[in-house]
């Protein structure tokens, strides 16, 4: 048998950190290759936010009167938030699919870092979300959206949106490993994410909502994310009434605390789950 050729098949020297980084890069590469080989995924994840920007601008924009720069400027932060939150669901369905395909079983019989598989997965989402953001920004600028803040604030806003989606990817990855089929993840996450993004200040000012919804919107972490992005992009309409709830008063702190809490809970949960799952 030709396996008797002279290649030595010993692991190259490395410590657990370099191994982790290398494994994380290999699995990230794998997920990026998927984006390249199945361009439909990227295409649809780009078309949808563009469609939302255009639909909301021209359908609701005519009916909703926002002081200052108008509805488009108000809307953009909301669309960004909605898109990155939905973008995180890829991690869920992809983990469920990998489990079903048995590729997770393959990874788990290799002497690699299990956490790296999850890092690679969530990194893949981050790339898709970043690309979506760029395309949305382009579309937004075409339909009249303007950033009225310093470049630093702008970058902080973008960073906050991506950070939030990254934390959400870990939640979704955990759910993806907990369900029996990839389809469940898509359907279930829509049930949760639609109310979460719509009962918020993303598309309409929340001060006019009926009281129970208004309270929900004020405490909703998505509202905090949207409000943070509006502040950092300089898109807060003049005369906005900020709710009395602490998250509404301190949106950026709320997002940072929320992200930390999600990561602290779900990163270890995911790693523990991964170490025992098998098809």
């Amino acid at each position: 048998m030709t396996t008797s050729t002279s290649t030595t098949l010993q692991p190259i020297p490395g410590n657990s950190l370099t191994r982790f980084l290398s494994d994380g890069w290999v699995t990230t590469w794998r997920n990026l290759m998927k984006i390249i080989r199945v361009p439909e995924i990227l295409l649809f994840s780009l078309i949808q936010p563009v469609m939302f920007v255009l639909l909301f601008t021209y359908v609701f924009g005519a009916a909703i009167d926002i002081p200052g720069d108008g509805y488009t400027s108000f809307l953009m932060a909301g669309i960004f938030a909605q898109t990155v939150v939905f973008g995180s669901t890829y991690s869920g369905s992809a983990m469920a699919q990998d489990l079903k395909d048995g590729i997770i079983d393959r990874f788990r019989t290799l002497p690699m870092s299990g956490a790296a598989v999850l890092v690679g997965r969530t990194n893949g989402d981050l790339v898709i979300n970043t690309l979506s953001m760029l395309v949305m920004m382009g579309t937004g600028l075409l339909v009249g959206w303007r950033v009225n803040s310093s470049p630093l604030e702008f970058l902080a806003g973008v960073g906050l949106l991506l950070l939030f989606s990254y934390a959400f990817s870990w939640v979704m990855a955990f759910l993806g490993m907990s369900v029996k089929s990839p389809e469940i993840i898509n359907n279930a996450s829509f049930l949760v994410l639609f109310p979460l993004t719509f009962i918020s200040n993303a598309f309409v000012p929340s001060e006019n909502l009926p009281t129970p919804l208004r309270v929900f919107a004020e405490w909703n972490p998505v509202s905090a994310l949207v409000q943070s992005a509006r502040e950092l992009f300089g898109n807060v309409p003049p005369g906005t009434i900020v709710g009395e709830a602490w998250p509404a008063q301190n949106p950026i702190a709320t997002v940072l605390i929320g992200v930390s809490v999600l990561l602290v809970i779900f990163v270890p949960l995911c790693i523990r789950k991964f170490a025992t799952i098998s098809r």
């Binding site: 048998m1 030709t2 396996t3 008797s4 050729t5 290649t7 030595t8 098949l9 010993q10 692991p11 190259i12 490395g14 191994r19 290398s22 494994d23 290999v26 590469w29 794998r30 290759m33 998927k34 080989r37 199945v38 395909d101 048995g102 590729i103 079983d105 393959r106 990874f107 788990r108 019989t109 290799l110 002497p111 690699m112 025992t276 098998s278 098809r279």
Partner: protein, 326 residues
């Protein structure tokens, strides 16, 4: 100590809404270095669960397992450096090319990019996938996927190879091709533990067979030893009329060496002492009692007879049922 040793493995599952399943019920197994051992049994016997425990995919509820003295449960990462595993469903990334799949596995074994590339090239040649190497696996045939998956299990030339139903679902030609690859590996000294529902596969590849049923090993030995253990010649008859099977069974048992004749379909088989004599006696007695026979003959025991004798069921029938149910 044997090269692979499983001691009293127990694993239970509790599927929702159904009673608890004891997938492994005190399973003991020994595999000698350089041997090919087949775990032979029907679906649900515990074959795959055994392989999953030994390849660190699941933890047993109790019991222990060792490969070359390394504790499978306590030191999974050390085990992963010595094993290759290839499963029933080819565990490959559909969106990567064949070459990229092998390269990825090599990198995840930390061989370094240069060696991982070299090794991927070697394996692509070995498995006759040179022309397909730059196409995504999505377009591969079932047999090609199975080969790339097996190649993935061989990246570090592991001393131990686990093959979980390596040829299930393959057409006869691909099956033969895969058997040849496995035979070459064995000639290289790799220890192989494979699971199969195919008696023919166990007979051809394995030099040791563990018959497994209800989560336990119920017999172990070479194919010849197992056949010898259930006695000598068999008389087998095929009935014209299935409704006469009970009378025919009584008749065959009367002339057999003591054990009940076993009926599968319209065929009855009974172990006998003196073959030619028993055959003649059975044929004439059947004629007297008016039991119509399509054919009657003597044969040496097959692995299927072993299976029938040990479990009261045919391994093949179980498989056919499962396939039609799926």
């Amino acid at each position: 100590m044997s090269f692979i040793e499983a001691i009293d493995l127990v694993k239970t599952y509790s599927p929702k809404g159904s009673p608890q399943v004891r997938a492994l019920d005190g399973l003991n197994l020994e595999v000698q270095q350089g041997s090919v051992t087949a775990l032979l049994g029907p679906n649900g016997a515990g074959k795959t669960t055994t392989v999953k425990v030994l390849t660190t995919l699941i933890q047993p509820d109790s019991g222990s397992a060792f490969i070359d003295g390394v504790n499978v449960v306590a030191e999974p990462q050390a085990i992963r450096r010595m094993i290759g595993a290839s499963g029933q469903y080819a565990a490959v990334d559909q969106n990567l090319t064949g070459f990229e799949n092998l390269l990825m596995v090599g990198k995840l074994y930390h061989l370094g990019t240069r060696v991982a590339r070299q090794r991927a090239t070697e394996l692509i040649e070995l498995f006759d996938l040179v022309e397909a190497q730059n196409r995504t696996v999505k377009g591969y045939s079932g047999g090609m996927r199975r080969r790339i998956d097996l190649a993935g299990a061989l990246v570090i030339r592991p001393p131990v190879l686990f093959l979980d139903e390596p040829t299930t679902g393959l057409d006869p030609r691909s099956r033969l091709g895969l058997w040849e690859v496995i035979e070459r590996l064995v000639a290289d000294g790799t220890t192989v533990l494979l699971t199969t529902q195919y008696l023919e596969e166990a007979d051809r590849l394995a030099n040791s067979i563990s018959v497994i049923d209800n989560g336990q090993v119920i017999a172990q030995g070479t194919a010849d030893e197992l056949k010898a253990s259930i006695g000598g010649l068999r008389v087998a008859v095929t009935l014209v009329d299935e409704s006469q099977s009970e009378n025919a069974r009584t008749l065959l048992t009367r002339f057999g060496s003591g054990e009940q004749a076993i009926l599968t379909g319209r065929t009855l088989v009974v172990p006998v002492q003196d073959g030619p004599h028993a055959l003649a006696a059975i044929v004439s007695a059947a004629a007297e009692e008016g039991i119509g026979l399509h054919d009657a003959g003597m044969r040496r025991p097959t692995l299927d007879d072993v299976f029938l004798q040990l479990t009261g069921r045919s391994a093949q029938t179980d498989e056919a049922e499962t396939e039609s149910a799926a």
